[in-house]
Each structure stands twice: as C-alpha cells, then as structure tokens.
C-alpha cells in the first residue's frame, strides 16, 4: 500500500463508521438539509457558493440521496485530511490522532447530524487556512497565492468560519506588529482581506440583509445552550452547546454526554494535554502559539456569549461595535476554534508525553573501550544496550545474540508505551463521542418519501398544468404544518426541515421559514399565513386568497411541531379535499 493512501483510507473508514446505516439507499434525514429529491436554490447568488454549486452540479448527474452520502463522506474525509496535513510533526501517528479528534468531537457531531454542512465544510478548510497562514513567507509568492485562495474558499463556503479565520488573522498580524514585523503583518491582513472580499457579491446579497434583520429575540433564541449541571461554560469547553441542544435531545438526538455523567473530566483531560502541548512547544513558533492561546480565550468567551453573565457584556460589546460580528446569531460556531486548538495542541501534547526513540550517537555511550592511542572504539555501552565494533565496515553496531539485540529493553519499552498511549488516546476520543458512530448511534435511518406524496405532486401538476415556476406563480401551495421543522412518521421520528418547498418544486410553496418558539416571521406572507392559522375564519381565508394560494398540503402523523389546530381544514366549506393519503391531505382552495 502506498504511504499517501493510508490517511485516505483511514478517514474514509472513519466516515463509514460514522455514517454506517445511513449509507444504505434512501435520503438521510438531516435536521436542516438534504432530504429532498431535487436540488435548487431560490436566488442566483446562492449558486455562487461553491459548495452549493458542487451540490447542484452533482445532482445533475446523480440522484440527490446519493449526492448527499457522497458529500457527507467527503466532508468527514476532508476534515480529517485537512487537520492531518496541518499538524507540524514528523510522527504520522500524531497526525492521525489530530485528524481523528478534529472529526470525532461533539461540535462536528452536532453540526453534521443536524446538517449544517456549510459550517462543516468551512470547519474542514479551517486547519488548511491556518496552515497556509503559518507558512506565509514574504519572499515566496506561491505562499501568498495559497493564502489568498484558502481565504477566498473559506469565506465563500462558510461565511462564519471565514470570519473566525479573519479574526484570527487580525490577531496574528497584531502579534507581528508588536514584534515590529510591519511588512508581514500588512501582507497577512491584506491577503486575507482581499481573499474574503472576493466574495463580496455573496455578502451583500442575502447575508447582509439577514445580518441586519437579527434582533435581540434572534440572539436570545439561538444563544449557546446551557447545560443543566455544568452551565454554558462547561458546555462550550466540552465542545457542546448548540443552541437547540435541549430541543434535539428531546427529539431523540443522542449526545454522548447523556451517557457519560463525568464528561467534563474528559474535557478537562483534553485541555490539560493540549495546554501541555502548547507549553512544551511554545518556543518553536512563539507568535503563532501566543496568538492561538489568546484566540482560544477569546473564542471561549464569545462562544459562551449571552448564556453567561460574565461573557454576556463582552459579547454584546463586540456585537455592537465590530463590523459584521452581529452575524453570529449563534455564537456557538466559535467552538470550531476550540476544537481546532484541542486537536492541534492536544496531539502535540501527546507527542511530548510519548517516549521518543533517541538517535544514537557516540555521545550517548556511557563507557567506551578503545585501543590505546589509536582512537578506534571496540566496545561501547549505552544505558540499555551493548555495542561492538563491526570490523568489516569499522562501525559500531548493537551486540546480538541469536540475531536479537542483547539488551533491547528500552527500545521495546518505548514501542510498547507509544502504542499504549496512542490506543488510550484513540479509545478516549471514541468513548467520549460514542454516539457519533453507527449512524449517530442508530438514531437516524434512511427513508423514502411515501407514495402518496408523489401522487399528490402528480395531481397538482395535472390539475394546475404547471410546468415551471413562472407558470405556477398564481397557483401557490401552502404547506402545513406551519413550522420550519416537522417530525413525520416516514422519517422514523427524526426531526427534519419542512420538505414541502423542495419536494413540490417547481410549484411555488409557501411554507414557514421560522422555527416556532425561537424566531418569528417578519415577511408579510408568513405574517398573513400565521394570522390565518391563529384564527382560521372566512375573513382570514380571503387574506390568504390574496397571496394566490390555491393548494394546501397537510402532512399528517407528525409529532407536535407547532401550536396551531389544523382541524379547520376539514370543516371549512371553501376547501375541497382533493386527495387523502396515509400521510398527507391535499386541499384545493377555491378562490371564489
């Protein structure tokens, strides 16, 4: 086996172990994305996101359920390889460990499981970005290009991770300024700013308006989750704390901390080893190490955000004063850097703890027997070995008996200790994230849409003569239940984003963009629908008619998702039940 293929195989195996039964045929019921037959994006600028573009292009030649599996395997593989490549050590085992930890941790677990695949893609690129930042040399133009490219990619794929990287770069440049390396500091900042700003068309599209629309309620709704026992800080240090964590756990998503009562001890252990790695190697690249430590503290504070009184003020200060910082509606994304720190420095720490086989030199020999004044050494003894002069090539070699180096205890011990250390390290990482493996511990199963969904879709097409989106603009479809997330039976009780819009494309679908209880609609269409659902009287139906809604699809057999009572569908005389399947009802709304 070629050596360079080994990491590829290792991380592919990790990906398979994580996804497991999700690799079987069927859609993966990711929380927010993926479970729909067709890939399309609403606005043209969404195609400028390279991840979206890749997703779309792959979907042109492959069915979406296969594309999703390929992308997810690719993301795990990419994340591991990226960290593997970044770690500046010669020991390959430590590189594997770093890559493995960077993949197998609660942050990656949560984001992959819920389907924040842009964040995961950005997370995968982040170590590479750090690598190119460290490797930047003023006289090497290629290194400039590399940094420019990775900054562009990172900001393009995940704007949040791009921002975190830009902030890290800012701090890195500042440390250079303190050391009076003005030129390098300027070059670093300039390249990263340029790379990021190449995506300006994305920023000033939907992103900017979204950032501007965030208000206190959004920040409250998506604040870092507080662990009932260890608080928000405990959650963040343990790489947990996704805003909807209690909601997810309620809906059957299992996190390992539910099984391990002493999970903070494990987090503590990872931090101890990482800080040890930082301390013992700090003189190798003092500026980068100092910057990393400072940024770790900053990340912890920001990730804790408004969930803790002592960090709240700092978070709010930055939110109000730093440009675009208010885009971090969900500050837990900063845990990505904590995860990077632990993987990077934890592996270095373990490397410093593991015994290293020393290179033997003549200085190591404790006793020497030489032949008088000739200077030729005939016998020598190290701490554990006996060496003799090989008279054929006049070199010292270990003394052998039955082809075994006589006192090889130390060497053997070193190998045994190294192996034990690595096995322990891998075991503790696996055990502390056991619910990541096996398709998220068997909590997710691949699924297919029921036949009646397809029947309903065909019926709508047939009756509305709807061929493309512009043709159907006056025959919109209202998808109910009115919550952005639903738990239909066919996904085996997994909580997924409302699939109406993607499933019934190209018919324009009016569906909720908002998670009830966490944020509220601000566009007039959603507002009208919501008013109608609160009080579904004939007067409100007239309001609904103004929105050109002609069809209503109601997905039955879902668990509690919102507060509305949908029995009005059966009672209203203005709605005709066109089709009723096992899981779905299709109504035609007569405008007259």
């Amino acid at each position: 086996m070629k050596r360079h293929l080994a990491p590829l195989l290792f991380y592919t195996a990790t990906a398979i172990a994580i996804l497991w039964q999700l690799l079987l045929p069927g859609y993966i019921p990711l929380h927010v994305s993926g479970a729909h037959p067709q890939v399309f994006f609403e606005h043209w600028y969404e195609y400028l996101n390279l991840y979206n573009l890749l997703y779309y292009l792959l979907n042109l030649i492959l069915p979406n359920w296969i594309v999703m599996k390929l992308l997810m395997v690719g993301l795990v593989l990419g994340t591991g390889l990226s960290m593997h490549h970044t770690l500046p050590v010669k020991r390959t085992s430590l590189r594997y460990l770093a890559g493995f930890f960077y993949v197998v941790n609660p942050f990656f677990h949560t984001r992959l499981m819920i389907g924040h695949l842009h964040v995961v893609a950005g997370y995968a690129l982040f170590p590479l970005a750090i690598y190119f930042l460290r490797k930047l040399k003023l006289k090497n133009v290629k290194s400039w290009k590399n940094l420019l490219l990775i900054s562009f990619l990172l900001a393009n794929i995940s704007i949040h991770l791009g921002y975190i990287f830009a902030a890290f770069t800012g701090l890195f440049a500042l440390t250079h300024l303190l050391k009076k390396k003005f030129k390098k500091a300027c070059v670093i900042v300039g390249i990263v700013a340029l790379g990021s700003l190449l995506n300006v068309q994305i920023f000033f599209g939907k992103t900017l308006s979204a950032v501007e629309s965030f208000n206190e309620q959004h920040f409250g709704g998506y604040a870092t989750a507080v662990d009932p026992d260890y608080g928000a800080l405990g959650n963040v240090l343990g790489l947990y704390g996704y805003a909807l964590e209690p909601y997810l756990q309620h809906n059957g998503y299992l996190l390992t901390k539910s099984l391990l009562p002493f999970w903070p001890v494990l987090s503590g252990l990872f931090f101890v080893v990482a800080l040890m790695g930082w301390f013992r190697n700090r003189k190798k690249a003092p500026l980068f190490f100092l910057c990393s430590l400072l940024f770790l503290i900053f990340s912890i504070i920001i990730a804790t955000g408004t969930s803790s009184a002592w960090t709240s003020k700092i978070f709010i200060f930055f939110r109000d004063n730093l440009p675009f910082f208010s885009g971090f509606r969900e500050p837990q994304k900063w845990v990505a850097f904590i995860s990077f720190f632990l993987a990077f420095f934890g592996s270095l720490g373990l490397g410093s703890l593991l015994p290293t086989p020393r290179k033997r030199s003549e200085k190591d020999f404790l006793e020497e027997k030489s032949s008088g004044g000739s200077g030729v050494i005939f016998e020598a003894r190290t701490r554990n070995e006996q060496w003799k002069l090989n008279r054929t090539d006049m070199r010292l070699v270990p003394q052998r008996e039955n082809n075994i180096i006589v006192p090889a205890t130390r060497e053997k011990l070193i190998k045994i200790r190294t192996a034990t250390g690595l096995i322990l390290a891998f075991s503790i990482i696996i055990l502390s994230n056991i619910t990541l493996f096996g398709g998220f511990f068997g909590r997710m199963q691949p699924f297919w849409y029921p036949a009646d969904w397809h029947t309903a879709k065909e019926l709508i097409f047939k009756k509305s003569h709807c061929l493309n989106q512009t043709n159907c603009e006056l025959q919109k479809l209202l998808f109910l239940p009115w919550n952005i997330y639903i738990t239909p039976d066919f996904t085996k009780k997994t909580f997924i984003a409302s699939p109406g819009k993607r499933f019934f494309a190209p018919i324009p679908v009016v569906q909720s963009k908002y998670m009830e209880g966490y944020n509220r609609p601000e566009d007039p269409v959603s507002d009208t629908v919501q008013r109608f659902l609160i009080n579904p009287g004939p007067g409100q139906l007239a309001e609904l008619a103004k929105l050109d809604i002609r069809w209503i699809v109601y997905s039955k057999h879902h668990e509690l998702t919102d507060v509305y009572d949908y029995r009005f569908l059966e009672q209203s005389e203005f709605l005709d039940l066109i089709f009723e399947g096992k899981t779905l009802q299709l109504y035609h709304f007569d405008k007259k």
Partner: protein, 648 residues
C-alpha cells in the same frame, strides 16, 4: 576731532526738530543712544563670557543642580526635611520622566493599553479599567511598584480620617481601592522577583515542594507521578477509558435500579416490584422477613431506631432469590440521612421555557412537562395542540382568541396524568405592554394545588354559582347543575356547557313564573332561566323531580334534547363540543348559523357540528345556534334554535 567724531555719529541719529522744545528732544536722543550703546556692549561681553570654557562648566553644574534641586551633601543633611521632600516629589524621582519616555517610545504598547482601557471602561467599570491599566503598565514597562505601595499606604492611612468625618461610603470605597492596590503591589513584586536572575519566588516554591516531598515521600512521589509525568496521565486516561466504557454500557443497559434519597426523617421506606417466582429477598445479606414468597412487590423500611440506618451515607442492596437459587439484584437504595437536612424547594415539574412573539397580538408560551402528562390545561383550557405524554408543550395566547389582554395576565398551567392526578401547577404572571409580552413572575403551585385541590374546586364552584345566578337561573336549577358538574367532572372543575332549547310547553305555571320569566326577545337581553338544561359528559342521571318547572329537565349528555331534530351535545375534549342531530327526509344541506356543513351529504341520517373557542363559534356566556335543514331547492324543511351557555 573728538567733537567731529561725536557729531558724525550723532548725525546718524539726528532727527530734524524745530521749535521751542527741540532741546528736550535732543536730550532724549542723546539718552537713547547712550543706553543702546551700553546695552550692546554688555551683550557682547556676556556672550563672550558664555563662550568661555569655565562658564560652560559652570552652566553644566547649574543644570544638574537645577535637576536635583539639592546637592547630595544637602540631601544627606537630616535636618533638611523640606529639601528632601521636594527632591522625593520631583518628577525625575517619581519616575514620571521615565514613564513619559517609555510611553512615547513604545507606541504600540501604549496604543494597546489605551484600547484595553477603553474596552474595560465600557465593559466593566471605569475603576476596573484604571486598576487593570495600572497593573498592565507597571508590568509591561517594569516601573517601580513602590509608587503604588506609597499610594496604597496613603489610602490606608486616610481611611481612619475619612471614618472620623463620618463618610462611611467613601471609606468603604477607599478600603476596596486599597485592597486592590495592595494586591497589585504584591503581584508586581512577585513578578519582579521572578524575573530576577535568582528567581526568588520560584526558588521559594521549590523549597516548599522539596520540604513537602521530604516529609511525605511516598505520597509526593505518587502525586508527582500522577500529575506531572506522562505515565501518570496515561494511568488517568486508562482509568477514564475503562470508566467511560462502563458508564456508557450502564447508561444504555442499567443492570438494576439505583434509588438515591436524602432525608432528615428517622425512618424511610422503599418499595418495588419483585420478579415472578421470587422466593426470598435479602437486604445487604439480611433476609427481608416482611417479604412473602411469590409476592409481586417488596417493601423495605430502614430506621434509626431499628439500627438499620445511621447518620450519613447508607447503601442497601436488595437481592432476590428464585426457586432455583438464582440471585438477581433488584435495586440499590442509597440513603443519606442527615438530621439537619432541609429539603430543597422542589423544582417545578412544569418548566416554562419562554415566550415567542408571533405578531403584535399573538404569543406562544413554551416549556416542558413530565413524561406522564396526559392532559395539560392553561387557564382551564387544553393547551393548544398538546399531545399526551409529550414532554414539550406550547400554548397560543392571543388577543383575538380572547385569552390575552393588555396589562397583567395570569396564566395557570396545570398538568395531569391519566388518572387525573395533578402532576404540576405553574403560575405565570405575564404583562402585555407596548406590544411586548414579558414575564413578571412565575411560581410553582404544585404542592398547593395537590394539597388544596378541593379548596380550589370549591372556589370555582362558588364562582360558577354566581355566574349562573347572574345568568338568571333559579336556585334549584343552579343546585342541580352544580351537582351534575361535581359528579361528572372527575378532573376537578372544567369548562362545561348548559343548553336551552325553546320549551315544548311554553306556558309557565304560577309556581315557577318568578323563576322562569319570558324568553328574551333579543340576544342582548339577559337570558332567562332555562327550560331545558343539559350538561355534557354527565355520567349520572339526576332525578327530574328536583326541578320545579314542568319543562325543566336535566339530561344526560348523550340523551337528545326534546327537539324534533334530537340535538345532542357531546364533549370529546374539555373545550370542544359537538352538536349533533338527526336529519329529516329530503334534507340535502344542513346549515348551522349560516354555515353549510361540508361533510353532510344528502341521505345522511345525522349531522355533526363542532364548536369550540378556537374556531370562533363558541364564546364564554351565551351562544345561539340556529340549525336549518334545507332540501335540494334550498327550501327550508326545519329550523331549530339553541341557546347554549358556556362557562369556564
């Protein structure tokens, strides 16, 4: 000649002046010339004096003297107090010049300090910002920390005087400041020591460690191995790996139940189920005498008097033995007995998680309830869209629905299990103000609700009686209704419905005339006492004789009203009612209050119509329903009018 010379030089200054005062002018000219000339000469002399070497040396000495003000000799003089004090307070001595130089030379550090100060000033407080700035500046530029020490001592000395002037607040603030400054001084000194070549502090610390290690060699070696060495970390990791594995397996497949309990009672009892075929149960190896073979349950009580429980931690392992002698652990009971233990205030079983604004008049309340919850009511009404045994709940409050008003709103959330036991009651006081709903307070009323459930019921019954009285019902009718409500409502007091249909025999007797006035002509009029009353879900038949009017009749819920359409009212859920009735031959359309019933088809024997508050066709108090049966031509076959009273 001399005169000539004088004249020639004078002519240069000569100003032509004529008249009687010309001599005065000439005198002035002369004086001016002389003064200028002298001054010029003196200036030249002074310049040449300054250029001389000895003068320069003198000047240098003078500069030094100017700087230090006093010569060393004078400083050594113990009597020269003023001189010494002035010297101490001079900018050079205080280090102000050094400070200025440091700050101006290290511009980046200065800017950073400024930024730090601005951030801290905004984030924390001005006082904290100044203190941190002081510390950072002294540390970064290695300034003499005795300056802070002097400030600390001055502050310390000032405190008694401030107290003497009875300014306690200032004294307190000063004390806090002194405390912080003292801390900064000590810390700076420690850091200073540490930066010295001999590393005084580290040496001291190592000396202490060595002393400890010599005193407890084995303990210290073990600690050092565990804490600092790779081997120790490996041991810790190995232990954690094993513990994690065990914990995960046990979390997924708990071998037996572990019950933990903390109590101040001298006796505690536990009970549980025993597997089939259990012959005996032992508790910590002792046979549980109270248990009889093959009994389905076991009960164990531990007490201080029986010497089975002592102060502190007690653990009881209950092992069942089957007929074949096979042993299995039933449970482990961990009891911590602490006579001084005060049980914490029970956390509310109903958790209120927050409010979500839907629009300016509608809000969602959300939270969690126990898994056993079969029904969840909010102010007596079933929580919107709550499904039994779900742990997450939501409820819609909106002005349009009538359950939210401007100002303070009291929301009482109550969870019950399948048997109607109260699992939890939580009261929220919410305030709707400026189109924002905010939580004013929340109280857990579970214990009160569980203990005083009957009292609450009585209170509501009293309110119900008042309502009925206001609606014009006769006292006996009220009694009958209340009795029915109490009997039929197992869950306590809930919404109920009373209906009235036009009497079949409209002539009131003189005896009941006072209690049963004529039918109101308009809906706005106060309703008359009912001629026919019905309460839904009533499970008991009430004797008809109890009502004085001949046509007042209390009916069971499903028994039809004495109308031609046999209208019945059923209540499948607390706040939802179904009006149903039979249809007549030829009926094609049934309309209730003008709305055609969609599900009714020609030829159907009966029709149904759902009423509830959410649909907007049921209101608190009086509701009038007009049922019309129409044939194919739209001609009216039959019309019935119902007046329904709804109370919460």
């Amino acid at each position: 000649m001399p005169d000539e010379t004088e004249n020639s030089s004078r002519s240069h200054y000569k100003i032509p002046v004529r008249g009687p005062l010309s001599f005065l002018v000439a005198l002035g000219e002369d004086f001016t010339y002389t003064a200028c000339d002298r001054l010029w000469k003196r200036g030249k002399q002074f310049w040449s004096y300054l250029q001389r070497e000895d003068t320069q040396a003198k000047l240098q000495r003078a500069k030094v003297t100017l700087k230090s003000r006093l010569t060393p000799y004078q400083l050594e003089d113990p009597r020269n107090y003023w001189g010494r004090l002035k010297n101490t307070l001079s900018p050079a001595h205080l280090g102000l010049k050094k400070a200025h130089r440091d700050l101006s030379w290290n511009k980046i550090s200065t800017v950073l300090l400024g930024v730090l100060m601005i951030i801290l000033w905004n984030l924390v407080s001005p006082q904290a910002a100044l203190l941190w700035l002081t510390f950072a500046a002294f540390f970064l530029f290695n300034w003499d920390n005795r300056v802070i020490a002097v400030a600390t001592l001055s502050g310390l000395i000032a405190i008694p005087f401030v107290l003497f002037w009875e300014n306690q607040v200032l004294a307190e603030q000063l004390a806090i400041l002194v405390y912080y400054l003292l801390g900064i001084t000590v810390l700076l000194q420690v850091l200073n020591w540490n930066s010295q070549p001999d590393k005084f502090f580290l040496k001291g610390a190592f000396w202490l460690v060595r002393k400890f290690a010599n005193s407890f060699p084995r303990l210290s070696t073990t600690l050092a191995l565990l804490t600092f060495s790779a081997r120790g970390l490996f041991v810790i990791t190995a232990i954690l790996v094993i513990a994690s594995g065990v914990a995960i397996v046990r979390s997924l497949h708990p071998p037996y139940e572990i019950i933990t309990h903390q109590t101040a009672e001298q006796e505690v009892a536990f009970t549980g189920m025993a597997p089939e075929g259990t012959q005996s149960i032992t508790v910590n190896g002792q046979l549980l005498k109270e248990y009889q073979a093959n009994s389905p349950a076991w009960l164990y009580s531990a007490s201080v008097a029986g010497k089975t429980m002592q102060e502190g931690f007690n653990s009881y392992k209950l092992v069942a033995t089957s007929q074949t002698g096979r042993e299995s652990v039933l449970a482990r009971v961990d009891v911590t007995y602490d006579p001084h233990f005060i049980p914490p205030i029970a956390q509310s079983p109903i958790r209120f998680d927050g409010i979500e604004k839907i629009n300016e008049t509608a809000y969602t309340l959300r939270g969690f309830v126990p898994r056993e919850t079969a029904s969840l009511t909010v102010n007596g009404i079933e929580a919107s869209n709550y499904q039994p045994f779900n742990t997450f709940w939501k409820h819609l409050l909106s002005a349009e629905k009538g359950n939210l008003k401007e100002g303070e709103n009291t929301v009482l959330i109550s969870a019950k299990d399948t048997e109607g036991n109260i699992l939890g009651t939580h009261q929220l006081i919410l305030k709707l103000e400026n189109k924002n709903l905010i939580t004013v307070s929340q109280t857990d009323l579970t214990e009160i609700a569980q203990q005083e459930a009957p009292a609450v019921e009585e209170q509501v019954i009293a309110e119900l009686r008042t309502d009925l009285k206001n609606q014009g019902f006769a006292p006996q009718e009220i009694d009958e209704l209340v009795t029915l409500v109490q009997k039929n409502d197992e869950d306590g007091v809930n919404a109920f419905l009373a209906t009235r249909v036009p009497p079949t025999t409209p002539e009131p007797t003189p005896a009941n005339h006072a209690a049963a006035p004529a039918e109101p002509t308009t809906a706005s009029e106060k309703p008359a006492p009912s001629s026919q009353l019905q309460t839904p879900n009533s499970s008991l038949q009430t004797p008809n004789s109890s009502l004085p009017t001949p046509n007042s009749q209390l009916l069971t819920p499903d028994s039809p009203l004495p109308t031609d359409l046999n209208i019945t009212i059923t209540r499948p859920q607390y706040d939802r009612y179904i009006l149903s009735g039979k249809s007549l031959p030829g009926t094609v359309t049934v309309r209730v209050n003008g709305t055609s019933l969609k599900k009714f088809k020609a030829g159907d024997a009966s029709w149904q119509f759902m009423v509830n508050q959410q649909l907007g066709n049921l209101e608190e108090g009086e509701n009038i329903y007009s049922v019309q049966l129409l044939d194919a031509q739209g001609k009216l076959i039959k019309r019935e009018k119902l007046t329904v009273y709804h109370w919460l």
